[in-house]
Amino acid sequence: MRRLNFAMPLLLFAGLAVLLYSGLGKDTRTVPSPLVGKMAPAFDLPDLLDPTQRVSGQSLRGRVYLLNVWGSWCVACVQEHPILMRLAASGRLPIIGLNWKDEPEAAVALLRRNGDPYSAIAADREGRTAIDFGVYGAPESFLVDAQGRILYKHIGPLDWASVERQLFTRIEGSTP
């Protein structure tokens, strides 16, 4: 019995450790995007490279595409860039850029330096469209199907493993 008294701190700590372990890996921050499975918000923005043209959700109907939110000011986007180049080179999935709260000159200069993986880039200088999409931070990517529904949302830079596991597996069913 006396032993038990001395073991109390140890037992309490064991309980605490189990509790802490149960909390590991649980996502306490992000709530899953309510947009997944819903129609992508409508947008109609000027093209970054040719402002006389428009890029809109309507004009993209009928195609499966990846909407990638990026900015020249975002270091993680620069890190993600080679993956996007590789994805574009694979030809399996067109990438539409959403250039978020950026200076057009800086964005174009970056693409000139590092290459342009995008089929088209919508310039969202005010960030309204990003708000509609519930963008929390760049980079974020949305996989949109031919009917304009959001199939999947990726937060943070893409890596090739998630491109294969999350994107390619989802588009196999639908027609490009």
Binding site: R2, F6, L10, F13, L24, G25, G71, V75, V78
Partner: protein, 655 residues
């Protein structure tokens, strides 16, 4: 090449820490002199290697080597030089390295200043510290290596979080870590004592200054964090009961209990097992704080980028350290004899009561901090526990402490009478009531909480002075003079009084106004007229700001001119730089919110915060008290004397 050197040096440090953690421990167990003798040199070498590694990371920041991923992510080419240096510990990886560095420095200091202790005991203490270093260094290398390259290198980096581009941030983490890590010495001492199976009062005496210094740094670290949050976050608050704040506050509460129980153990040989247990808990809570901040288990404004792998690693480490130490406690503690040689009314009892309240307060904070986790584990949904819980329970649990503080130092050891202890405090008691009544009369409508705060604060301060009065009345003791330990105790207790006055007045009498103001408009707060004179653009090194001009007048006299800013940093973060006119009895605080109506007007926050400086002033008093006490001559090692009374005061000898 240089970052690789840093990493290499870190790997070497890990190997040396392994040697330090294993060989001297076995040597002390088996009585192998040469293995025991390894402890000190290994501690010095480990310290040198970690310092080199840290210096090389700092170098990468100073020369802006953006091929190092950590540098690229947390600094950029226009970041001012002083922030380039503080950016070293501005994020997870570097701050872990700072932890490891401070731990290594403490270990080296222990090696240097422990000549009065038996070599086997020192070897064990250093070994335990070495094992803790192994944990931290491998955590750094395996899950959070700051030297990883990002090749090809980037042309420019991101930016240091603007919140952290500030003097407060340069100094807050190192001070805090000094405190956390300092408790590692008390922890290592307790573990070594448990392994040894016996404790000598001289050893306890030796460990006291270490704990006191660690506690002082922790006090300063927490106060700096609070001050920084106050002027930098733009909400005018000084404490938010945020999980991370709690994580630093819990070790402080236990550390406070520990410095008191250590005093009892050293002077009276009492509460030995309790002191050992507190030492283990204080350091464990420091580690728990590290876990909570870096694992993503709890949501907090302070949280580092969360990562479950790191979390699992830290949890395993915490399990080894705390689980191991507590298992050792379970096994060995019954061997230490106890001799409850004190009566219910005595200084020992009062200090024990102090410990009970502090530990209860800490348990309350722990419960509130972890409750969201419990709720999620039990499937009760996502909940958050906030200021209402803490704000209600914490004062209830600590108020008795404030009432009892003055009595402790005047109570006799072993046995005393309540009436004898209470008698000299008549004046202090009356003083507290008179000052509170005067304050109530002067500032009509003073809330009850403010009055209570003044009563408690004046009671603690006047009660502390009562000790001085009694001391001076005794010619014998007066001739000997106050020891530094007593002076430190008095300063710290008085600081507690100053602190409680500040807290209660700020919490109950602050005025906070959220207004819409256009240029030229004025508003009156407590007899002061705040006028929004102007706002203009201003360029900083890595941000653009809207620079406001507010003039505060009392009648026609200008009291202060304040310049709040709204800054947009290069990495798109927007920061509110509050403008503060500090004062001994009040702070004036102006912060810019958002522009309204296309910039014609601004949302403006204007605060009048009475006595807020007293909160940090009180904390500074406490820190100074701790340092003063640590510098007491009696606690300093004196080899010659230590040898003469060796063995004379062994206590709790193993069965």
């Amino acid at each position: 090449m240089i970052p690789e050197l840093g990493q290499f040096s870190l790997i070497l440090a890990l190997l040396v820490a392994l040697v330090l953690g294993v060989l001297p421990m076995i040597g002390a167990q088996r009585g192998r002199e040469r293995w025991i003798a390894l402890a000190r040199p290994a501690a010095y070498v480990q310290c040198g290697l970690v310092a080199l590694s840290f210096a090389l990371l700092a170098h990468a920041f100073l020369v802006q080597d953006f091929s190092v991923a950590y540098v690229a992510e947390h600094s950029n080419s226009v970041l001012p030089v002083r922030y380039r240096f503080s950016a070293v510990w501005g994020a997870h990886e570097g701050s872990l390295l700072l932890w490891a560095l401070i731990l290594s420095v403490w270990t080296a200091l222990v090696a240097r200043f422990s000549r009065s202790l038996p070599d086997t005991f020192v070897a064990r203490v250093l070994s335990v510290l070495g094992l803790v270093s192994v944990g931290f260094l491998s955590l750094t290398l395996v899950t959070s290596n700051p030297f990883l390259r990002h090749l090809p290198g980037l042309a420019d980096g991101n930016d240091l979080n603007p919140l952290l581009q500030d003097f407060g941030m340069i100094v807050h983490p190192p001070m805090l870590y000094m405190g956390f890590v300092g408790f590692a010495v008390a922890f290592a001492f307790a573990v070594a004592a448990l392994i040894e199976g016996r404790v000598d009062t001289r050893w306890v005496r030796w460990s006291r200054p270490w704990t006191l210094v660690a506690w002082s740094f922790l006090t300063l670290g927490i106060a700096l964090g609070s001050w920084w949050a106050y002027y930098e976050l733009g909400w005018g608050g000084w404490w938010f009961w945020d999980p991370v704040e709690n994580a630093s506050f819990m070790p402080w509460l236990i550390g406070t209990a520990l410095i008191h129980s250590q005093a009892v153990t050293e002077k009276r040989g009492q509460l030995l097992r309790w002191t050992l247990l507190l030492a283990i808990i204080a350091f464990s809570l420091s580690l728990l704080g590290t876990f909570l901040v870096r694992s993503g288990v709890l949501t907090s404004v302070h949280a580092f980028a969360s990562d479950p792998t790191r979390g699992a690693f830290i949890l395993a480490f915490l399990g080894c350290v705390t689980g191991g130490a507590l298992a050792l406690y379970t096994w060995r503690a019954p061997r230490f004899s106890v001799d409850t040689g004190f009566e219910p009314v005595s200084r020992e009892s009062l200090l024990l009561l102090n410990n009970v309240f502090l530990v209860a307060a800490c348990a309350m904070v722990l419960l509130g901090t972890l409750y969201p986790l419990v709720a999620e584990a039990m499937g009760w949904g996502k909940v958050s526990v906030g200021p209402p819980y803490f704000g209600l329970l914490f004062p209830i649990l600590t108020a008795p402490l404030f009432l009892l503080v003055p009595f402790g130092p005047l109570a006799r050891w072993r046995q005393d009478q309540a009436m004898r202890i209470a008698a000299p405090f008549k004046i202090a008691f009356i003083a507290a009531l008179v000052v509170a009544a005067a304050a109530f009369a002067l500032a009509r409508g003073l809330p009850l909480r403010a009055v209570l705060g003044i009563v408690l604060g004046v009671w603690v301060i006047a009660g502390t002075l009562t000790y001085v009065r009694r001391f001076r009345a005794d010619p014998q003791r007066r001739a000997r003079g106050l020891s530094r330990e007593s002076i430190g105790m008095l300063i710290a207790h008085a600081g507690l009084g100053v602190f409680v006055i500040g807290v209660m007045l700020v919490e109950s009498t602050s005025i906070e106004k959220d207004l819409r103001m256009a240029r030229g408009e004025s508003v009156e707060v407590r007899g002061l007229r705040f006028t929004f004179e102007n706002i203009e653009p201003l360029d900083g090194p890595n941000y653009r700001a809207d620079h406001g001009v507010f003039v505060v007048r009392s009648g026609e006299r200008i009291v202060a001119t304040l310049h709040p800013q709204k800054r947009a940093y290069r990495n798109r973060q927007v920061m509110t730089e509050a403008a503060i006119d500090p004062g001994f009895t009040r702070d004036l605080y102006v912060a810019l919110g958002e522009p309204l109506d296309g910039g014609k007007a601004w949302a403006v926050r204007i605060y009048h915060k009475p006595f807020i400086r007293w909160i940090w002033l009180g904390a500074l008093f406490m820190m100074a008290g701790g340092l003063f006490a640590a510098a007491d001559k009696r606690l300093r090692e004196r080899r010659a004397q230590a040898l003469t009374d060796a063995g004379a005061d062994a206590l709790g000898a193993a069965a």
